[in-house]
Symmetry: C2
Subunit: 131 residues, 2 copies
């Protein structure tokens, strides 16, 4: 990262630092019929795509405010602070939204061994055609 | 890439090479109520996340067979061979599915200037808190 953290919302260390909440930016995000938007999580150090989960308007705002990923659990229908129990928290360095405003990308520093509930580093550990 | 291409479905150059279609693997993929699964596309050279789009069972199979990304256009409700008109094709080096089988990840070599219809390299060119 070469950009000054004060300008870009870069999180310098493994602790929470909020990203400025700009209402115009939040208003650019579109949600599906369930009120959710897919959020891709990438390891800012390795570049690996770790996981994809879902946010609603509330958890996107919480993610920016708390400087860590907060998702909406579709299975439990509740706010899901990633790593709250496992310790595998994700500290946000950069947060972006795409051209259509219907997908989010979070570059994070990953705590613990990885992002996947299976214990793997990345959820994408299975390749097609790998037999 | 250090893995032998014959074993991992790695595409050595900027031309199509299919990835073996394994029915057991395809059967591990789950689709939403519209019959779609989100597909993340990552530049295998730079590690940048380029875009996210949607596939159905047919276009996932076509992607593997043709060795390039083929999506389902939700707006046009038709098969969308990425770059067919723009030339910004994406040649698949690796294709993976996540722990839950409900998200795909494609590592590609990107033709042209980039992946975004705006002309940008990546669709994720807008950061939160960047004012």
């Amino acid at each position: 990262m070469t950009s000054p953290s004060s300008q870009t919302g870069v999180n310098a260390g493994n602790h929470a630092r909020s990203i400025p909440v700009v209402e115009d930016e939040l208003a650019s995000v579109g949600y599906n019929s369930d009120g959710l938007v897919p959020a891709i999580v990438q390891d800012v150090e390795t570049g690996a795509v770790l996981m994809m989960a879902w946010m609603n308007g509330e958890t996107l705002r919480l993610s920016l405010q708390e400087g860590r990923t907060v998702f909406w659990s579709r299975s439990r229908q509740e706010v899901w602070r990633k790593g709250e129990t496992s310790g595998e928290r994700q500290w946000i360095e950069e947060a972006a939204y795409d051209c259509d405003g219907d997908t989010l990308l979070f570059k994070v520093r990953q705590d613990g061994d990885g992002a996947c509930h299976t214990g793997k580093y990345s959820c994408f550990y299975r390749s097609f055609g790998s037999i």
